[in-house]
């Protein structure tokens, strides 16, 4: 009997754990180690952040699902990996620290034969002074953060109802942030909410982003085929901003936030101060901060992890200039070099380079949207790692499953307002996520890379909300729902 351990229970880790149990659970153990007691369907946090959905609709307790599926669950955060075991025990293991109220702070170890690192992001609010729920801005990165954001937005709406104009700023809190799609969604949901409240005329709504152009989304933008023409996501997105009267500031690196003031620098090197009444800024992501040690106790963290804290996998991490990167440099199997029993999936793996072109201001400030690795690709990677492990438990020489972001597609449904008859969303598909200019002149398959706006997008997002929560709860027929 082998022990498979999954670190993290987000989209990627939870998907991997469920598939592992389905594939190998009768003969081997599957253990999930996660500091969180609840699973969160993060794409719907933006609706929690406008008060359109209670947090209880986007989270559920993990313990009861794992108990029903006979998956071992340890509520703890991983601290360090010992991939070679110790001098007294050759079995690899992970140092953990319990986080449940009953055992908070208690150290422990979990041995493994196969390990999937799906620890997700560390929300690095500290990267920008004054940013975050403990500072002066809101967040929608967790259901709890989103609940607080909704309360702050409601307070702003109350002030507008009393006749006081408000400046609402939504965007990215650092030049190296990712997940621009979340801020894009939230700004249009805020716009929709204040229209519904009848106070839009008293609001100045500003989207402050590190993207060099609207529609970049951290993937370098897209080229769509539409009405017999090839058009860009930039033009398409600009149209929506103009239509909805949302002002945009692009190519921005937020340096510091004070009460009511955002200090930022733009790509031309100029520095600005923006006054606000309500602000939601997404923080940059970092790795979970895991350490790694060799059998003799030597610190080998830099062998397994990039300086950002993300785990190195089967990607090309040589420091090539941006223009020389190729789609084939992206990882396909998510195996950690030198440690074939370890995989890193979802946000936990270190991307080999930005998809969106990195830029520097004349002052040397890096403004470089990081590649998104969330949602659909995250689940696909988790399943691929689970399949590889399942195959190798039967045949150690079995080839690894492939799930390169340079081959797979993704759907991004960016809500622009809720309501079964009044909602709307920008519904986009792209194939592949990482452009491949050797295969496609525009980097992507223009037959599959599309963008549409309308009520149907909202219905799709709502459908995905219910489908993926159903799947994550491992209810009857869950494996039939694709990642």
């Amino acid at each position: 009997m082998s022990d498979v351990v999954v670190l993290g229970a987000g989209v990627s880790g939870h998907t991997a754990a469920l598939h592992l149990k389905r594939l190998i659970g009768k003969d081997h153990t599957v253990t999930v180690v996660s500091p969180n007691s609840h699973w969160n369907w993060i794409p719907s946090n933006i609706w929690v952040g406008t008060g359109d959905m209670p947090a209880s609709k986007v989270i559920f307790p993990l313990a009861e699902v794992y108990e029903r599926k006979k998956i071992r669950f340890t509520q703890a955060k991983a601290v360090a990996i010992h991939p070679e075991g110790s001098v007294t025990d050759p079995r690899p293991y992970v140092d953990i620290e319990h986080t449940s109220p009953a055992r908070a702070g208690e150290p422990g170890t979990v041995h493994y034969d196969f390990l999937i690192n799906a620890t997700g992001p560390k929300l690095r609010f500290e990267a920008t002074e004054g940013m975050g729920p403990d500072g002066h801005t809101q967040s929608v990165c967790t259901a709890d953060h989103a609940t607080h954001a909704a309360a702050a937005l409601e307070a702003s709406i109350a002030r507008m109802k009393a006749g006081e104009p408000q400046t609402l700023v939504v965007g990215m809190g650092h030049g190296t942030c990712t997940c621009e799609g979340a801020a894009f969604e939230y700004v249009f949901n805020v716009d929709h909410t204040i229209r519904q409240a009848g106070v839009r005329d008293l609001a100045t709504v500003i989207y402050l982003t590190n993207e060099a152009a609207l529609g970049d989304f951290g993937v370098g933008g897209m080229i769509f085929r539409q009405e017999g023409f090839e058009t860009t996501s930039e033009l398409w997105t600009e149209s929506l901003f103009r239509e909805r009267g949302v002002a945009a500031i692009v190519g921005a690196h937020v340096e510091k936030v004070e009460a009511g003031l955002i200090h930022y620098e733009t790509l031309d090197g100029t520095k600005h101060t923006l006054a606000f009444d309500f602000a939601m800024l997404i923080p940059p992501f970092g790795g979970a901060g895991l350490k790694a040690y060799a059998r003799d106790g030597q610190d080998i963290t830099d062998r397994l992890f990039a300086p950002s804290g993300f785990m190195k996998v089967d990607a090309d991490y040589t420091g090539k200039p941006y223009d020389e990167w190729r789609a084939t440099d992206w990882p396909a199997t998510y195996e950690v070099p030198g440690y074939p029993s370890i995989f890193a999936v979802g946000i936990a793996f270190a991307p080999p380079h930005q998809i969106s072109k990195p830029r520097k201001t004349p002052n040397g400030t890096l403004i470089a949207p990081a590649p998104p690795r969330t949602g659909m690709p995250s689940g696909v990677m988790g399943k691929a790692a689970a399949l590889t492990i399942a195959h190798r438990l039967k045949d150690p020489s079995a080839p690894a499953e492939h799930a390169s972001m340079a081959r797979m597609g993704a759907a991004c449904v960016a809500s622009a307002g809720t309501g079964l008859t009044t909602g709307s969303a920008a519904a986009m598909t792209m194939l592949p996520v990482v452009p491949d200019y050797d295969r496609y002149p525009t980097g992507r398959d223009t037959g599959e890379t599309r963008g549409e706006l309308g009520l149907h997008g909202h219905w799709v997002k709502l459908m995905l909300h219910h489908l993926f929560i159903y799947k994550a709860k491992a209810k009857l027929g869950w494996p039939l729902i694709p990642e």
């Binding site: 492939h402 081959r407 592949p432 149907h456 799709v460």
Partner: protein, 58 residues
């Protein structure tokens, strides 16, 4: 169409969107037209499914 307070935006490097295409009233109506949107919902859902089948192996 625009609801911005010029004072709040003064001195900010706001992107000039005056050249961005605006949807026509018909386009805006169609974006909320229930029968039409239902056909788009079915089409888009099938497209996601096709893309999953075509692009989720790598």
């Amino acid at each position: 169409m625009t609801n911005q307070n010029p004072t709040a935006l003064a001195a900010q490097p706001v992107l000039d969107l005056s050249g961005a295409p605006l949807p026509t009233p018909r386009t805006l109506r169609m974006r909320q037209c229930l029968p039409f949107q239902f056909t788009r919902f079915v089409t888009f859902s099938l497209r996601i499914l096709r893309m999953v089948l075509k692009g989720h192996s790598g």
